[in-house]
């Protein structure tokens, strides 16, 4: 029991009320997504804003999976996101380590440039990127997306990784080097195991960013078989109607990889791995 809670019961109630309100607020859109996905088509409009549908059906999911190109979009997205996350994290880890441990000429300039790239609205550079990708002959390919996403995520991912490396005491590496490691061995045997939370966080961050990116995917991909999932979602919007039920069902399915991914990496996100290294 915390001290605050013992002090006044009203405070406790207030605290939980605030938490409950926040949770409801944050989760309601997700609930609504799920609700519409399982509402039979016939009831979507007639029942309007009722909190619970009077009947439940999984027809939307069946249709999405078996009668649309959804699985292909899904696969494309998975390829793009995993590749982006892996490549970005690899580069960001190397760059972050260098920023954290070495002093080299032009370090400040590179950091400043990387910050500047984060300041422009993406819309400004869409046209040039389109031209570049076009001239490279990479339009309508997943490769183009991987390259563009990687380029855009590297600065932030690098700063993220740098801060994780900064959190690992330099003494540890030096101790390892005194113990007979080369710098690379020290990195592999001591620093790397301690950076797993950072790698996990960076992977998760980049994966989610790539998974939900729409703007570039829309610009660079126009062929159906290279579409990623966010673009594919738009195919549920036709000229005359929006297939809400199927769109929401596809949305629910799209959440699954993100959830799985975070369940998978969450144990690496748990902090405190470095405790006990140095006198706290």
């Amino acid at each position: 029991m915390s001290v605050a809670a013992r002090r006044h019961p009203a405070l406790t109630i207030g605290k939980y009320a605030a938490l409950a309100f926040y949770l409801a607020f944050a989760l309601f859109p997700l609930y609504w997504l799920l609700k519409i996905a399982i509402t039979p088509d016939a009831l979507i409009y007639s029942e309007g804003t009722r909190l619970f549908p009077s009947a439940v059906s999984f027809d939307n999911f069946r249709t999405v999976v078996f009668q649309t190109d959804f699985l292909a979009y899904f696969g494309n997205s998975l390829t793009v996101s995993l590749a982006t996350a892996a490549i970005t994290t690899l580069i960001a880890a190397a760059a972050g380590y260098a920023f954290s441990r070495f002093d080299f000429m032009g370090k400040r300039i590179i950091i400043a440039l990387m910050l500047i790239t984060q300041m422009f609205p993406l819309l400004m550079i869409i046209a040039p990127i389109y031209r570049i990708v076009g001239q490279l002959g990479l339009l309508n390919s997943l490769t183009s997306l991987i390259i563009v996403y990687t380029a855009f995520n590297i600065p932030f991912a690098t700063f993220l990784m740098q801060s994780f490396f900064d959190g690992i005491p330099k003494d540890l590496e030096e101790a390892a080097m005194m113990d007979g490691c080369s710098r690379f061995q020290a990195l592999r045997k001591v620093v790397f195991p301690l950076t797993l939370p950072g790698l996990g966080a960076t992977l998760g961050f980049v994966f989610t960013a790539a998974w939900s990116e729409l703007l570039f995917a829309l610009m660079l991909i126009s062929k159906n078989d290279a579409m990623t999932f966010p673009v594919g979602l738009l195919t549920f919007v036709s000229k005359f109607s929006v297939d809400w039920g199927q769109m929401m069902a596809a949305g629910v399915l799209a959440l699954i990889p993100s959830c799985l991914f975070f369940i998978f990496i969450q144990r690496y996100l748990v902090q405190g791995l470095t405790s006990g290294a140095v006198k706290g």
């Binding site: 005491p169 030096e174 080097m177 005194m178 007979g180 791995l273 006990g276 290294a277 006198k279």
Partner: protein, 355 residues
Amino acid sequence: MARIELRDVVKRYGAVEVLRDINLDITDGEFIVLVGPSGCGKSTLLRMIAGLEPITAGDFLIDGARMNDLRPRDRDIAMVFQSYALYPHMDVARNMGFSMEIRKDPTEERKNKVAQAAATLGLSALTDRLPKALSGGQRQRVAMGRAIIRDPRAFLFDEPLSNLDAALRVEMRLEIARLHQKLGATMIYVTHDQVEALTLADRIVVLNGGDIQQVGGPLDLYERPANKFVAQFIGSPTMNVVPVSGTEAGVTIANGKTIALPHLPDTQQAVEMGIRPEHLDVVDPGAGDLNAVADVVEHLGSDTNIYVKVDGVGPLMVRKHGNIPAKSGDRLGLRVRSEKVHIFAPDGTALRRAA
């Protein structure tokens, strides 16, 4: 095992000169303690010997071979860090055996050595714990274990005990002394603690502002400090220093009293006189060289510290063995043991007859 030489070693960070012309000869098996005020470059010097910090100029030799450009792993030196720097993801046994793991020594041999070191350091029951489940003292022992397991040519310690409480510090100090006796290895030890320095060292190196002030045995530094800095830095409580004017026969204190110093040369050049608190005797008022009034009296049981205000001179400290029945406000006389007086020239160097 290892004779370590530093020849005109210089360390610069950009334009900042952190260490200047360091010359030091450390014989095999010697226990050297580096002391000096914060920021004087002790850690930097140690890290240069370890190979963690490049040497800007000069030579660093082990057993006659130049080591300046060798990587830490090729120098065969072990270091105990102030922060202990234990690998948090490895248990105690693996922490201690890590160097052998890297060297790819046979597993059996490694296990034996780890067990042996753990037994020596009283860690046998803890070998499968992670560092975070250890107390500060236990972590310190693991850090030492990691160093001794390697059988290195030399040991470096950077304030290894400064994070421990007083009782544990005494215990670990004895342990380090024992370790040195047992291994007979060359050790270089950085500390802030006078007692550690005086008790452990074969020779003490006093650093200040990037220069070596004096190198010598603990008693040398106490009895024959080379300058005012060393005089005030070594010894606790600190040496009293008062301004004087030098004469042919001795020095004259501000109260007009002249102290004859026949054993010291060049007394005319003296501008300051140093006298340790334990070298002032308490006598009846008027009977000594100085007249004073007791300001604060500290009874420590074994000793008595008396902070006095000396007429015409200012505050001094007196330390007497045993219990002196003095109390605040008492008037007393002080006699200077002239044979224990140090005198300093204007540049701070001690004036002394060549030995």
